[in-house]
Each structure stands twice: as C-alpha cells, then as structure tokens.
Amino acid sequence: MEISGAEIVVRCLQEENVDYVFGYPGGAVLFIYDELFRQNKVKHVLVRHEQAAVHAADGYARASGRVGVALVTSGPGVTNAVTGIATAYMDSIPLVVVTGQVPTHAIGQDAFQEVDTVGITRPCVKHNFLVKDVHDIAGTMKKAFFVAASGRPGPIVVDIPKDVTAAKAAFEYPATISMRSYNPVTKGHGGQIKKALSLLMHAERPMVYTGGGVVLGGATKELTQLVRKLGFPCTSTLMGLGGYPASDGQFLGMLGMHGTYEANMAMQHCDVLLAIGARFDDRVIGNPRHFFDEKRRIIHIDIDPSSISKRVRVDVPIVGDVRDVLQELSKQLGASTAKPDASALKTWWAQIELWRARDSLKYDRSSPLIKPQYVIQKLHEVTKGEAYITSDVGQHQMWAAQFYKFEKPRRWINSGGLGTMGFGMPAAMGVQLAHPKETVVCVTGESSIMMCIQELSTCKQYRLPLKIISLNNRYMGMVRQWQEFFHGNRYAESYMDALPDFVRLAESFGHVGMRIEKPADVEGALAEAFKRKNELVFMDFVTDQAENVYPMIPGGKGLSEMILV
C-alpha cells in the first residue's frame, strides 16, 4: 500500500520510538503536521519560536541520552533554528531536525520562504540531507538517526520539499543500515591502552582531565572506578560536570577560565595527563604556549580522531568509545602487577591540598546584598543536589557550574561550546518532558532569559513546572566583568535598562512570580518555590551588581595566571 511522504516521515518517527517532536508549523510542513494530527504515538510540542524548538529537543537529548527531534518549516523556520542546531553541534548533541522545503520545482527560484537549508546548515551539522524523492525518505531518516547517535554525536538536518511529502510510496523502514563512508571506530587500540597504562604507572604527578565525552559516552561508572583505584586527582570541563561525583575528595572541581585554583594548577604542573573525552579548548587550557611551558606526557582518549592533537600534541592517542577504552584500561590495570608510585603520589597530593587551601571560590558572606553564589549554594541544599539544572550563558552559568555540586551525569545542561544566551528555558522544557517527575531548574540572568522569554507560554500550555532562578544584577554580568577588567570600567551597552517587572510578567503568562531582595529571604523563598510542584515559579533574585566570577584566566593567558579574589 502506498502512503504519502508526510505519513512516511511520521511513521519513521514512530519506528524510532520518538515520543516528542518540538516544532512550529508552516506552509512547507503542512502535510507532515496533518499526519501528526492523525495519530497519537508521537506527541508534538508547540514552541513559540523555532530556536526554542531545537533547544528543547537538545535539552531532551542531553537529559535522556536519546536523539532529540525538531520539526520546522522552510525559510525563516530554518534560519531561526540555526542557532539551536549550531548549539547542539558545538556540544555534540544527537538531534534530527526535519525541515520543510519549497516544492522541488521551485527550488532555486527564490520562492516564498525559500532558503538553501543544506547550504546554510552545512557548517553546523554533523551531516545533512535533501530528500528529493519520496522513495528515499525512509532510508534517509534511518541514516539520520543512526549518524546522529553514533560515533561523536551531532545534529542531522533532513530537508524535505513539500511536494515530496505529498507524493506517495510504499513504506518500509529498514531494520539496519550500513554506510560504506561512515564507520566510526569504537574499540580502542589494545597496544595504545597498554602504553597509556605504563605511562600512568610511572607518573609522579598524574592528573585526570575529563570532558563532555564522559557524559555522552555513558562512562561515569567506569571513570569513577578507575580514578578511585588509581588514587589520582580528577578535574572536569564545564561540559563534563557530573561525569565524576563532585563530592569525592579526589575531585578538584572544574578547570579552565573560571576553574578552581587547584584544578588549574594541577593541570599545569602534572607530569602525566590522562585526557578523557575532552578537547583542550581555549576556555580550558587558555594559551597553549603557556601550557607547553611545563613538560608533561599526555594520553588522550576520544571517539573523534580530529579532536586529538588539534590544539595540543599528545603522546598516546587512543581513538575509541570512552567507556569501552576505560573498561579495557581497568582490565589491564587489574591484570598488571604495576602500582602507582605511592610516595610520589603522596607528595603530589600534599601540594594539591595546599592549592586547595586557597579556597578560590570564597566570597563575601556578610554582604547585605544577595550574592549570586549564595543563591546557588542554597539551591543545591534545597534540591539536595538532585535537580536537573539548565543554564543560560554568562556569570550565572559559571556560578551554577562552580557551586552546584553535580553528583550524577546529565544533570547539568548548558551551552558550553557555542555559548548561546536563550538556551536555558527551552532546554529545561525538553528536560522536564524527558523526566516529568524530576525537579528541573533553569539558572539564568535577566539578560539571557529575555532572549527566549516567549517560551513561558509553551510552559503554560504543557504545564511544565520549571523553577526559574534568575540572578538579576541589571547588567549583562559577564560583559560587565570583562569591561571592568579589560576596558577601564566603561560599561558600554551592558546595563539592562527598562527591564520588565518579572513577577507580573510571569503572572501574565499564568505562572507564579517571586521577587527576592534580601539574603535572609533566599532560603525561605526557594523552599516555598520548590513546594509548588505543579507550577512554574519565576524567581527574580535581585543580586549584587558588582559581583565577579573568580578565579579568572584572562583571554590569552595561561592556566597558572589566574586572577584570584
């Protein structure tokens, strides 16, 4: 029996067990929407802007470990979605974004709502497809889900012209797929793993540096076991938080531009570095030349060969799935008689404890103004460290990363690579739908939240009881901080004048709004907000305008050149 291309698209989503599609209708996708309407298996979530559709699919993917799906129309639907696609691309998040296109005969004619979707998205997708024949839809969708989720994950765009969704063909969803041009390596090279083990056993000042790959690769258990067995210090990038339990004594906190003193110093001064699913980016090691001032041997485990020796030359590259490689490393460690050098390790830890004693995250606790760090600490207490936390981008993001101690993976959801303001609330919608019973918090600032504020409407429609923690300092805080440090206190366009009354704004969307102005009220307000299990609560914390994020490595400086409080 022949069915329409649109029905084939929906049947493919059903075959992939997709439970939510985040989208916004328009001319080029009307046939697909018609088919969504006629079934109940795949639920559609109507956002208020296509950027939010992709962020929501992204948040869903990050929290659940499954492929997120978005559906947008041609032209402006696609261009609005691009920010979301690029966000997912930079953080290696598996998405399938189905985009409508003008009919095949109109392509290239500057038709109404036409853009070159494949061309526009090419640099920010793992791969994209233009489906010109109805018979190719099923195979292409199968490939899209397969490529999105395998290897180093990433977003896939499937662009489908309107006439292709109207045309008919028989439907058969391929059970398996193989692509001669796409075979990611997953198994690490045994010989390289052996070399790595030998380096680790001879280390005097070892260090484990982990990134988002540990979370994406589901390697938390393997990482934790290995690090505990070795007794080595461990740090994590912004993207890797939760990959290793933050409360563990061997964890030195986040490293990088706003990392802890002890993590950055240990990273700089170690003699053997084990990098796992991390990519030595500019916000992590700062200036690579400064990083090279100290000699160290580097082992790098990553599923993407191009991440290895890109910014930093490594001594033992291991291409493979991090979980698989860590299992093999643990196995070889168990079978080996070699042991880490205990006395050298003791000396190294003594040094690290001295660094740790500097307490680089301290802040003024006696201030009459609300300190943003304090809000996050209280948030951690009130939620017992078990909430799913999304964030926007800026100071609040760094404070959330520093002060919310993540014990488990996939609990910390933020735009690390692209740094997309406006990510937090729509991502939280996806997280809440993936985990309807869990507490989902969006930590944001008054500038970021305004970038996707319209999604309060979506939250109402789907009764998503998010808790929005807005650290309102009336500034684009991180911009202001840079202007204070590097631009002579000239606060060019970073002051947010004419802000809305967020309490009434939240109320006008049918939510609960709270404004908190005194430190003494913080804890009580949080407790009250989290009691409202079925309501979205927008908490507007009026915080100290002058607070900065410390430590800070200025751009172009090295890991040991931190500005400390």
Binding site: P123, K126, L130, S181, P305, S306, S309
Partner: protein
C-alpha cells in the same frame, strides 16, 4: 610543505561543497582541487593540492575523514606517486612566433589541437612545475589565454586507493 591528498567520496550533490566548505571554514589552503566520478559512478575521486605544517596536514586528513560522505583519504605525498595536470594554452602564432610556438610545443611534448592563421591552442600535460616552465619559456605577450585543470594524482605501483 606541499601535499597532494586523494579523496574517495560518495558521488552525491553537495559533496564538493562539504569539502570546499571545510577548507574555508577551518582556514586551510587549497592550491587546486579536481573532482570527477570514478569507474564506479556512485563514487567520485578528488585530488586536493594544499600546503601547511605537519599539524595542519594531519588535521586536514582527519577532518576530511570525518565528513560523512568521505569514504577514504590518502596523502599521496607520503609515498611514491605520479602527478599530472592538463593545460590548454592559446598563444599568438604570427610571423616568426608561428614557427617558434610549434617548436616550444614539441620541446614540451605538447600538441597543437587548434589552429587559426593568428593563433595556436596547445595541449600540455605534466607536473605542475612542467606547465609553469612552459609558461615561463614563452614570452608573456604571446600568451592569449590559459586554462589548467589542477593536479590529479595516483600512487605508484600497488599503492591503490579503492573501496
């Protein structure tokens, strides 16, 4: 250093733009790029001449391999290989130049493939440096037009790039 990289990729629309887009997005140089389908029409073979430090070339190889449409990549300059480029050059052929141009074409083992009473079109094949040498050897004024394909390369002996 100059490298000549061969890429086997799916003969899909847009595959070329994925490769050229990769080079421009990451700031790699392209000296020349040629592409055409292989004996298997579902696959294309591309030859890219580029230059860069060892680190850059390593990244180019890895980034090319990462493209989903790319089946195989080899850096021909890592081993023995043959490199050829085709050039068509239209030269003025009047007066004493007419005999001279015929002689130059012979010396460079070129062929005259089109003739009028005022000009010749010469077809020349060889390494890029041989074609450069020809252009240097004839006077600038005599050259009316040149068109070059860019280099194609293949490994020597049993060095084969195949699926």
């Amino acid at each position: 250093m100059r490298h000549i990289i061969s890429v086997l990729l799916e003969n899909e629309p847009g595959a070329l733009s994925r490769v050229s887009g990769l080079f421009s997005a990451r700031g790699y140089n392209i000296e020349s790029l040629t592409v055409a389908p292989t004996e298997d029409p579902t696959m294309s073979r591309m030859t890219i001449v580029t230059n860069g430090s060892d680190d850059v070339i390593e990244q180019i190889n890895k980034q090319l391999n990462k493209l989903v449409d790319v089946v195989k990549v080899i850096d021909l300059s890592e081993g023995e290989h043959i490199e050829r480029e085709l050039m068509l050059v239209k030269v003025r052929a009047v007066g004493k130049d007419r005999e001279e141009m015929k002689r130059m074409a012979d010396i460079f083992r070129g062929r005259i493939i089109d003739v009028t009473d005022r000009d010749y079109t010469i077809e020349l094949t060889g390494s890029g440096s041989k074609l450069d040498a020809f252009l240097k050897a004839v006077s600038r004024d005599a050259i009316l037009e040149t068109v070059r394909t860019g280099a194609s390369g293949i490994g020597r002996g049993d060095r084969v790039l195949k699926l």
